[in-house]
Chain length 168, copies 2
Amino acid sequence: MKLSEAKQQFISTWGAMGTHWGINRTMAQVHALLMISPDPLTQDDVMAQLNISRGNVNMNVRDLIDWGLVDRVIISGERKEYFTAEKDIWKVAKQIIKERKKRELDPMMKLMDQLSKVDGDKKDKELKTFLDAINGIKKFGAHADNMLDVLVKSDESWFLSTALKLFK
Amino acid sequence: MKLSEAKQQFISTWGAMGTHWGINRTMAQVHALLMISPDPLTQDDVMAQLNISRGNVNMNVRDLIDWGLVDRVIISGERKEYFTAEKDIWKVAKQIIKERKKRELDPMMKLMDQLSKVDGDKKDKELKTFLDAINGIKKFGAHADNMLDVLVKSDESWFLSTALKLFK
DNA sequence: AAATATTTTCAATAATTACTGAAAATTCGA
DNA sequence: TCGAATTTTCAGTAATTATTGAAAATATTT
């Protein structure tokens, strides 16, 4: 298989995968492109390689920067902005875990706390089932939160060696 | 807060959360409704409670069954089908991990194996960066795969006690 | 400060995804 | 086996989400 073909396939699949994770296809494709590009790219490079408009590139790159997955790069003597992505997949994963925890898990747990204050007769089957569900999620969330925190703070070698032994 | 209100909020938030995870809003809402319902519900119950059409309920319930998150229940003497959802959130999480691993991680790893066979001059910077990315993902994926396998095979008490100590 | 290059915004539009509802298929009881 | 109840399918439509492209804003050079 030729490199150009392989790149194309990687970008396309990474994009499709993104849609299964609540990430828009193009954003995932831009990320994929930057991950396999040795040097930083400009908006025009991305436009050309993915065949998308300037506005689209701008928007998605900005989102990727918000996620902490892409950085602006200043190249001295150049007027244009360049963009580059973190290439260490472990760091990428940690960053995504960190962001999703902040954006999703934390607010969800806050809501569960509120919902567990629901009032009514504890003997009521409806209420009991509801509270059991909420409390189950709270407990699970607290543990997941903890686990993810440790994961995010750990380094790659820990993940690649120790973690496995512990799990086995 | 009243129960009916709390339920409504839970269903709505669980649905919104679904969209961040590549799951359609309605499917997540149906799941939420079944999780907090003490008794199995019929298609008509779900239609009434979520204000959606019969076809929509049918489709989403079928998907939830495919995901292993909802079961058909036969109630003797009743002609209609009833549906119920697993209420133990740890089992729900394990099931989702299992399915996503099968549907997403496994195929992705298969693709990486293919892409790592790309041919060309190993000195080429473009090729080198590409291969580094692919191999990084392969290595990461193999470990994640392993970790998730152990998680899925472990039981709740392990998660709630041992896992934390190990991680700390 | 004017000219030029570059980035950002956002209303209009396109593309995608989800939903409805009625017809077809299936199931089940009599 | 027939008829009624129930489930499933799916073409048409609605709702949502993503993209374009050109105008406005910003930054840089001369």
